[in-house]
Amino acid sequence: MDPQTAGWALVVALFLPLAGAGLLALIPARLDQQIRRAAVVITGVSFALVAAITAAFDFGDAGTLQFVTDVSWISAIDANFHVAIDGISLPLFFLTYLLTFLCAIYTLSNLPAPGKPKGFLGLMLLLQTGMAGTFVAFDLILFFIFWELVLVPMFFMIGMWGGPRREYASVKFFLYTLFASIFMLVAFLAIYFQAGAETWSIPELSAAAGVGGTTFQTWAFLGIFFGFAVKVPMWPFHTWLPDAHTEAPTVGSVLLAGVLLKMGTYGFIRIALPILPEGAMRFAPMIGVLAVIGIIYGSLCCLAQTDVKRLIAFSSVGHMGFVMLGIAAMNEAGIQAALFGNIAHGVITGMLFFLAGSMHERYHTREIGVIGGGMLVKMPKYGVLLTYVAVASLGLPGLAGFWGEFAAMWAAISPGGDLGDAYGGLYLGLVIFAAIGTVLTAGYFLWLLQRVNLGQPPARWADEPLDDVLRIEWVSWVPLLLLILALGVFPRLVFGVQDAAVTNLMSFVTG
């Protein structure tokens, strides 16, 4: 595949899951296992294709768009079907396919009530196209469509296969994000008409070096900010997240944490910053402050949780705070950090949700107090995995979590543009508080480990036969476990891929 001409490959990879969803619909519902296997095959083939795209990707030229398809789509409004991939998109795109593939494998043996793999996997495939499309769309309208497309399958995933409060959680998720995204659409429209060229093309708008005046950019950024911030989620827009995560089925949580949240930060980086640099500069200190509040606040909330999944969900608020801090730095290092944090959080927290889900399968509860410790005795492999991933999540160097956090703080010390002169002290404070957040993060994870892993299992579980990690779980988890280590040891895997693309992107922002 020649990355310059093989745009078809990307399009095929993008719509293969959608076609697969159609295919699944044709299989009779009673063929339960066949449906699950078919989903594995579909996601597997998609993943293989994406792996091939990754292999063919010209890493030396990661700053320019590759695998481009740019055809007129809705001529009435100049919208194009413009998909492509560059160094910023590639890791997220890859992660999307990997996680979905693993989720499909996981679903071979684990599917919560009421079963119905056909519907579940069909929705998952639909979700996959939506998520993947968001990361490769280079037309604002197309981006928005993929963005919104994600809502519906996730709504059903939570609402039909979720926990006891699933209906509340699903509706809250849907409405909150929908509400925010419409403001985003309005901002897109305003950009379109203000751009002069009247184009939706993200590269063209970026190259225009700022659309409209400062006032316009401020308002437009506010609209976009709201849309993305809810998705991220930034404090104080995060309240949908714990509910959604807690109630969602395991696979839903994994994809939600692993990919969906990244759409928000990706949007900031791909759209908000280059197209509205002045607005972004104005808002950057505020974003930074909110990000750091999120870090501290999320960690504090984690300390108060008694529910494993809810704890992990709140930890996302903190971790995404680091990502946003990177963005608030408004320099290349910050964007690098944010993107790395995205990937790392996706892998680690995705894995944590897998673990939490499997824990729930065994204990039939997510209450830390009911589990009561002793998991290392009861299920030693499982306990080791939990320790490993928790330690990765608290940002230990050598594992994936560290680089995003450290680099974000490092970037924030010298924010881009004029921010350093105007807000130097503020940013120093942000760095310090963010660093304190890492202590809190360590605190709640250690506490979690102590209460779940260590000690002797309470009487009620002592004689209960609980399976240690199953084979199918190993298969679906090992790639993530390895990735956590690999990203920690070879940060170049992500930093290196992104470097040229980030440089290119930031040249639009800071000139």
Binding site: A304, F402, M409
Partner: protein
């Protein structure tokens, strides 16, 4: 042998390899993986010896060997480097770490025999060694952070090795969190210090460049003060300085070999090492120096006092470690670069020895408490004499390693022209007394008297004794390379000197000030050592100036005899031991010292009158009041602050979550939805079902619209 320096990276790589191999295949091997660890550490140790030899014999100051490759881009044209920086300091740490680690590996093969997680233990030991070496070899501060945090993790996992019991879990968590709190400082400090380096190169974390820039005065004072104080915070927590030392005594919950390796010889000295690494930066600010010195002084004294009242053998040693770390810190704070790391070096050996000896004792009697020991010298002769060697080295008995290094610290205090210098000297001297006293107490209680053990004690096996012997020899011998009897051109000072340090000086010291300070020091000493009175030659100033070092220079030059200090140290030692002998010589537990010493006290009062005075005004206040107060403040106040901070945080978290998150913010979201429903409920009444009312509303609406519309113009 030059090639050895270029292959220094093998030293950390070998333990990493063995850690991975042990984790993967350890359980399948006859020695359950321990032989892999020993083997890799042995090779690493040999390499370290070679490197040490190379660096030691190189003409001073040796040009550091630095190799680095780009590990990853970091954005903005900056890169993360993975590199090695080999100079005397690195070599010294290599030697210390690999040797102690090797000894601990060998020792643990016997000590940990039959433990359920034997293989895991060895994997962790190897991993720890790797992490520590990674920190030591780092050519940039970012890499240092990585090693720093990894040693913290290993420490956490090993303290919590017996995780079935809650106190051990708590100790592990406490250790990790307190040190992690310090890491805040490290991260912020490293970040702050990287800022001025942005223009210099692609890797703003490079240590050599940072040091050079600082020495050239290219870094602003504000940056240095903020950055170094932040880094110092990390060192305070990692190296157990007051008030963040609280985790270290608790960390004794881990297996004793771990205490020896991690919590005595190596990891806790990481803070000292890091400050030494960045010494040219630190030396730019008197404020930073003074803070370091004061914290060190407080630590060295008060921690020593606490050790007096411990019954748990390991806790005595732990407080002693804290105290000794205070010496090192204090030395760094008063310009004693060489003194600080020299003490680090010697302390590593004798403290590891003491811990391993304690482990041997504990292994024999199955208890940590001295009240369960007694008369052990008969049952465990090898343990006994090695322990005694370690104790006198720690106590600073002349011509032991501890003596040379501690004297260097005190002398550094003398040299220093500011108030902190005198503080270090005098408090250091006082603490030396305390040190000698508590070590003597330990020895007497453990090895003398009558056996109080519940098991018949027996000497440990060869694998445990051999390391004791090796370390005992080093506890004496290692001091000589930094002593005046050694060669002036190739000694500890020249070994660990770096070119930047050799050229740099203290910017805040006026040209003649240091000389004056030395003079002053001389005067101070004049009273104590009449023989050398009237001559500043005691302080061997000539030697330094002969070497061409300027008045404000950082390195002191080769060590020389300081007879006054020697005598004072000896006096202090003897006084302490004698005092201890009087109190504990019978090897009886200290349940009621007055009762035990009653007749003796009377005799002494009658004959000399010193014992009673010493007991009443020194022993009682110090041991019963000051020490207990210190212990109390340590355990209740300072620990309480940590615990309270933890509890407060948890409460705050609970409150935040319950009130703010669930009610206010979430409530706002829900409230919006609710109000829509509320309005909807009210409004629906309009749809009454009566068509004429519909018509009326319609007409009313029309009228309103028409009026508005007509008026709108």
């Amino acid at each position: 042998m030059d090639w050895m320096l270029d292959y220094a990276w093998l030293v950390p790589a070998l333990p990493l390899l063995s850690a991975a191999l042990i984790a993967a295949f350890g359980k399948l091997m006859p020695g359950k993986g321990s032989e892999l660890g020993v083997l890799s550490l042995a090779v690493a140790f040999l390499l370290s010896v070679g490197i040490a030899w190379e660096t030691f014999t190189a003409p001073a100051p040796m040009e550091p060997v630095e190799h680095a490759f780009e590990w990853s881009p970091l954005g903005g044209g900056f890169v993360i480097e993975l590199g090695m920086l080999v100079d005397g300091l690195t070599a010294m740490m290599f030697l210390l770490v690999t040797l102690v680690s090797l000894m601990v590996h060998i020792y643990s093969r016997e000590y940990m025999q039959g433990e359920p997680r034997f293989t895991f233990f060895f994997a962790m030991l190897s991993l720890f060694t790797f992490s520590m070496l990674l920190l030591v070899i780092a050519n940039n501060t970012l890499q240092a952070i990585i090693g720093w945090e990894l040693v913290g993790l290993c420490s956490f996992l090993l303290i919590g090795f017996y995780w079935e019991k809650k106190p051990n879990q708590d100790a592990a968590n406490k250790a990790f969190l307190v040190t992690k709190f310090g890491d805040v400082g490290l991260i912020v400090g490293v970040i702050v210090l990287s800022v001025p380096m942005f223009g210099a190169s692609g890797s703003p974390f490079n240590i050599l460049e940072l040091n050079q820039a600082a020495a050239d005065g290219a870094i602003g004072q504000g940056t240095i003060v903020l950055g170094m104080l932040m880094i110092f915070l990390a060192c305070v927590s990692k190296s157990g300085q007051m008030p963040l030392h609280v985790w270290l005594p608790d960390a004794m919950a881990g297996p004793t070999p771990v205490s020896a390796l991690i919590h005595a010889a190596t990891m806790v000295t990481a803070g000292i090492f890091l400050l030494a690494r960045l010494y040219p930066v630190m030396a730019q600010s008197l404020l930073v120096m003074s803070v370091v010195a004061v914290v060190g002084v407080i630590t060295l004294f008060f921690a020593g006092l606490v050790a007096l009242v411990q019954d748990d053998l390991k806790k005595v040693l732990a407080y002693s470690t804290v105290s000794q770390l205070g010496y090192m810190m204090a030395a760094l704070g008063v310009g004693g670069y060489t003194a600080g790391i020299f003490h680090l070096f010697t302390h590593g050996f004798f403290k590891a020895l003491l811990f391993l000896g304690a482990g041997s004792l504990i292994h024999a009697v199955h208890s940590n408490n001295m009240s369960d020991m007694g008369a052990m010298r008969k049952a465990m002769p090898h343990t006994f004499w090695t322990f005694i060697v370690g104790s006198i080295a720690l106590a600073g008995f002349p011509l032991t390693a501890g003596f040379f290094s501690k004297d260097e610290v005190l002398v550094a205090g003398q040299y220093w022209p500011y108030a902190t210098g005198g503080l270090v000297f005098w408090v250091g001297l006082a603490a030396a007394f305390v040190t000698a006293f508590y070590m003597a107490r330990v020895c007497f209680l453990v090895f003398w008297g009558e056996s109080r053990s519940h098991h018949p004690p027996h000497e440990s096996g060869r694998q445990m004794v051999a390391p004791l012997v090796v370390l005992a020899i080093l506890s004496i011998a290692s001091g000589y390379i930094g002593s005046p009897v050694w060669d002036d051109d190739n000694n500890f000072g020249t070994w660990t000197a770096t070119p930047v340090l050799a050229e740099a000086d203290y910017p805040f010291v006026a040209d003649d000030e240091l000389g004056t300070g030395l003079q002053g020091g001389g005067e101070v000493l004049a009273g104590g050592a009449q023989g050398q009175a009237g001559s500043a030659s005691v302080l061997a100033v000539e030697g330094e100036e002969g070497e061409g070092l300027g008045a404000g220079s950082i390195l002191h030059g080769p060590p020389s005899w300081h007879l006054d200090v020697l005598l004072m140290a000896l006096a202090v030692f003897l006084a302490a031991v004698a005092l201890a002998w009087r109190i504990y010589g019978r090897g009886k537990p200290e349940e009621d010292p007055t009762l035990n010493m009653g007749p003796l006290t009377t005799v002494l009062v009658n004959k000399y009158g010193f014992d009673d005075f010493g007991y009443r005004y020194i022993v009682v206040p110090v041991r019963d009041h000051a020490a207990r107060w210190a212990s109390w403040s340590s355990n209740v106040v300072l620990d309480g602050i940590v615990a309270g901070a933890g509890k407060l945080t948890r409460d705050a978290a609970m409150t935040t979550y319950r009130v703010l998150d669930q009610k206010v913010i979430d409530g706002g979201v829900n409230g919006a939805a609710f109000s829509a429903a509320w309005w909807s409920e009210r409004l629906k009444r309009v749809q009454s079902g009566d068509v004429q009312r519909y018509a009326a509303v319609l007409v009313a609406g029309v009228i309103v619209l028409v009026v508005v519309f007509a008026a709108a113009r």
